[in-house]
Each structure stands twice: as structure tokens, then as C-alpha cells.
């Protein structure tokens, strides 16, 4: 089962694990990644391209499902203004064996970072704003898969 949501509100990590694994006895491992707003930024505003975002994420999830035998997958990405420490993104990947679950989790976040249409603007504590620049390391991380 694939769940994709793009939303401004926070997500409930425990509830998402429960929804992914409820009534299942074929899962052996669930990999998870949660990305959060890291200081020293006071806040971050995430802009996205609504008409494209869900389909871009769905394409990334399909690619993960093509590469690994996944038994379920959840991607939730927030947009809007988020304070330091708040959750930005949740990735869950369930599989019979841990290696598939862990690899798919890393793949999903690496590709989300470079292929999902989100842009971050950071606010420093003194109120200055700056668009976050794409990192070369992120391209390298996405390209290794």
C-alpha cells in the first residue's frame, strides 16, 4: 500500500507506522527517515508546485517499488512555514527483509531531495531570508542509486 501526502500540517509518526503495518504479518522490517528543520535557521518556508508535487513523488515511489520488493511505502512532505525543530518529511518503507527496507528508505529520501519540486527559504534569527541552495552532495547521493 502506498500513501503519499503533501500537506501543511504535521504528521504523527507513530500513527503512520501503525497504518503501514496494521494486520500485516509479512513485514520483517520497516525503514524510516524523518527530516526536520535544523537550526541555526529560526524557520523555513517550503514552497512547492502543487500540480506536480504528488505526481513527482508517486514517480519516485514507483521507482523504489520497481527496485525493491516493498510491502508498503509512505511519503509525507510538508509545505509552508515551519519552525526550527519541526518535521518536514516522513519516509517509511516496509519489506520482508531489512536491507530492502533500509535501502528503499535511503533511496526515497535521496530522490525526494533532488526530484520533488520543493524549495526552501530559510529565515535566520535576525529575520534575514535566503533561498537554500541545492547541494552537490545531494546530486551525488541521488546518482549513486
Amino acid at each position: 500500500m502506498t500513501r503519499i501526502r503533501v500537506q501543511s500540517e504535521n504528521f504523527d509518526i507513530g500513527a503512520e507506522f501503525a497504518a503501514l503495518t496494521a494486520e500485516r504479518t509479512d513485514i520483517g522490517g520497516i525503514g524510516c527517515f524523518v527530516g526536520t528543520v535544523r537550526g541555526p535557521a529560526a524557520a523555513m518556508t517550503l514552497e512547492h508546485y502543487p500540480a506536480m508535487t504528488e505526481r513527482a513523488i508517486a514517480g519516485i515511489v514507483r521507482e523504489a517499488e520497481r527496485r525493491w520488493s516493498l510491502l508498503g511505502c509512505t511519503v509525507i512532505h510538508r509545505y509552508g512555514r515551519l519552525l526550527a525543530g519541526e518535521n518536514i518529511v516522513l519516509v517509511l518503507a516496509a519489506a520482508a527483509h531489512r536491507q530492502a527496507a533500509l535501502d528503499a528508505t535511503a533511496f526515497l529520501i535521496d530522490w525526494l531531495k533532488t526530484k520533488a519540486p520543493f524549495w526552501k527559504k530559510e529565515e535566520s534569527v535576525d529575520g534575514a531570508e535566503a533561498w537554500v541552495e541545492a547541494r552537490v552532495e545531494d546530486d551525488a547521493a541521488a546518482a549513486r542509486w
Partner: protein, 90 residues
């Protein structure tokens, strides 16, 4: 596909939106503008703000009808073309 003559919907995100001063517009490029690269060249000469938005072509990404596109990607009547910086979500 013929050169573009019907309106295109163009979207700008992040600092491209700020520099062009435009989030979304409907434009009809002149004959001869048939690809993303040709569209960029035409847009860039519309105003200093647009010129600034497209000054560093390597920093500009594009999607046509919500799919990532290249400068050589052809565009046609009614297409939705979006310009934005490299993505930084996740």
C-alpha cells in the same frame, strides 16, 4: 510539432518568481519559439527582472506539463511550463 502560437501557461517558483515578479502568466510567444531553450531566450529579453531570473541558465530547471524537461524539450499550444531553481526539499 508546430511552433508555439497559442497561449502557454508559465509558472515561476522560488527566486525565479521573485525576480520575474510573476507566479503565473499566460503568454503567446512569437513564431520560432518551439522549445524550452527558445522560450527562455525570448522570456529573458522581456525585462531586466526576467533577464536576471534567467541570467544563469545552469541554475534554472524546467518542467513541461509537470514533467522535468530539458532545453531541447518541445513545447506546444496549451502547455504548462514551469521554471524553478534546483529543488531543495526533503
Amino acid at each position: 510539432m508546430a511552433d508555439v502560437e497559442a497561449p502557454l501557461t508559465i509558472l515561476y517558483f522560488a527566486w525565479l518568481r521573485e525576480r520575474t515578479g510573476t507566479a503565473q502568466e499566460s503568454v503567446t510567444p512569437p513564431a520560432g519559439v518551439g522549445t524550452v531553450g527558445e522560450l527562455i531566450a525570448w522570456l529573458a529579453q522581456r525585462s531586466p527582472g526576467y533577464a536576471s531570473a534567467f541570467a544563469n541558465r545552469r541554475a534554472v530547471r524546467c518542467a513541461v506539463n509537470q514533467e522535468f524537461a530539458e532545453p531541447a524539450t518541445r513545447i506546444g499550444p496549451g502547455d504548462e511550463v514551469a521554471f524553478f531553481p534546483p529543488v531543495t526539499g526533503g
